[in-house]
Amino acid sequence: MELRLSDLRDGESGVVISIGTSRGRGDADRVGRGWGFRKRLEDMGLTPGTEVTVVRSAPFSGPLEIYVRGSRLAIGRRMAERIFVEVKR
């Protein structure tokens, strides 16, 4: 099942499919504002095919703590909404 990373429950894992530059899916505008952030996320290890675990999310729809390639990242919820993952449910 394809979900946004922000929709995962605490402790749930998924495999990265793609990172959208806007809220929508896909690779639409490569030079647009979201581009740098996608690049940063990929540079930190969130490339397509990578397993990522949502460790916990902060209350009041705050940021998410995720675990990827052995490191622990905090990412804002709006960022997490742009990351599409494949989840077994």
């Binding site: 740098g36 690049k39 540079d43 930190m44 209350p59 940021p63 390639r69 052995g70 905090a74 960022m79």
Partner: protein, 642 residues
Amino acid sequence: MTENKFRVALAGNANVGKSVVFNQLTGLHQHIGNWPGKTVEKAEGTLHFKDYSIDIIDLPGIYSLSTFSLEELISREYIAVERPDLVINIVDASLLERNMFFTLQLIELETPIVMALNQMDMAKRKGIKIDHEKLEKLLGIPVIPTVAVSGTGIYELLEKAVETIEKRGKKPSQMNYGEEVEERIGALSELVQKIHYPYPSRWTAIKLLEKDEQVDREINKIDPEILHASENLAKEIEEIHGHSCSTVITSERYEIASRITREVQEVTPPTKPPTRERIHTLTTHKIFGYPIMAVTVLLIFYSIFTFGDYTSGLLGDSLFGLKPIFEGIFGTGVVGKLVWGGIIEGIIGGVTVALPYILPFYFVLYFLEDSGYLSRIAFLMDKFMHKIGLHGKAFIPVMLGFGCNVPGCLGCRIMETTRERLLAAFVVTLVPCAATTVIILGLVGRFVGFQWALALYVVDLLIIFILGRIAFKTLPGEPTALIMEMSDYRVPHMKTVLKQTWFRLMDFITMAFPLIIVGSLVIKMVEILNLLEPIASILSPVTVTWLGLPAITGITLIFGVLRKELTLIMLATLFGTANFAEKMTSVQMIVFTLVAMLYIPCIATIAALIREFGWKKTYIITVSEILLALLLGGITFRLLSF
């Protein structure tokens, strides 16, 4: 004597220990702490080894050689353009895969590299074993295991670095990114080879395919045809893989890093969750995280206050008791007055009023920084910071601002956009720094009550929130999202913490005490010349009529622009006692402190603001803070004396 000069740059991911290695090698003291993004500008130091004089350059930590952020730009410029003789790639052994992703990019740049496999102790604790000899073979670069904080392996690292430079030998061999990509890199780099471009052609080709803004722009100026060709090639790759070309290349790099890591690393995870994990879970907990944070902060201020209060009283009584002795020596004439009142009293004021609070404060801040708690607070505060147009990471410079606004303002560089850096810096200038804390705890806390000191902090936070919101509304733009690494908790390394506290204290003493002495001398002269009254009375419409303060405070507030704690120390000099309750009412102390807390960023902060944001913005910030302080001071005076 002819000396051989080399330049060696330290590069690697954020928070891996570059600055610790730098300090070990050069004997300098770069800022160290357990959160990513401390070093924001390159630093240089020199080291003599054998017959060589080696310049060591500490670079900001980066995850990639792209141009996404300021740090990446600075580090890439240095490595690619200035071309050091060697790059020491510092790597966190407990996060080998992610760190190696960066190593692979360094290899593409074709600079000579030595890898320092740092934090071996942490890796071991996490049950990670690395075969560094095999790693050396697979990467084709020398690898030295190190534990930077204890100095283990640093000498070997240096030896290997020199040996590698001496050999000036082969470039590290390149990695293979898979057939479809390699073919196109090859085709493109042939085109690049024909033009005159200072970077390695393979690297340039890869950057073109990744659509790196800077390289694109520069190549376009030289030969737009090449850019055109690269766009076509990138499109082909995109069609084959279904992802953007930059994503494909990044994935390939990670693929290689992941494969090598699997080959050299053996992990036996600890059977029960280690303490640091349990502390992490607790301090980021949905419910408990916030009360824990509040209690921690409260405890910190309370213990600093208790320590400062006690020590300050003790020192004040005994040091001011020396007056008769000095008068015996220098007499009570002009000379005696100048020596006692101008010099000695200034120093005593500095020692009794400032040091008892500043010393424990620095210590606690460095302790917290080295533990790793700051990034957890940033995580918890993300949502709150969005309300003032920032994200959680901005809370880190804010917390540094509690120590001193200057590093706070510089620390704002960890924010991604200019707008966010400015917003965050504005907030930082409103944060009460250690010097202001001296006034809050040393005046209000000591003579009115700790709860009133606390109330002042709360008022300050409210002001920050309200003004932050106003600034956010006047500086339009969407807040960007948080992306931050939360490094593992660590037992703070005591030697590092103590060392940093000590150097900071020395900075304080060498910066503040000359000012205190000169300030006190000037004040005494003014007093002897009977000019205190006239000057004070010029300001009295503001100080006396509007704020309800003793007229003399006007003069100390002028000195406070130099350093905030001067307001209080000068006050002690003018009163001839550090027992302020004899000379001021509680309301006066509260109003005075509130004004001193907000009325202007000190001169060093103003200088930092000008450097980072220019005159105009600094001017606006400064003037609006003066007006705000006066406004609030007057209102508070009227409310409290009601």
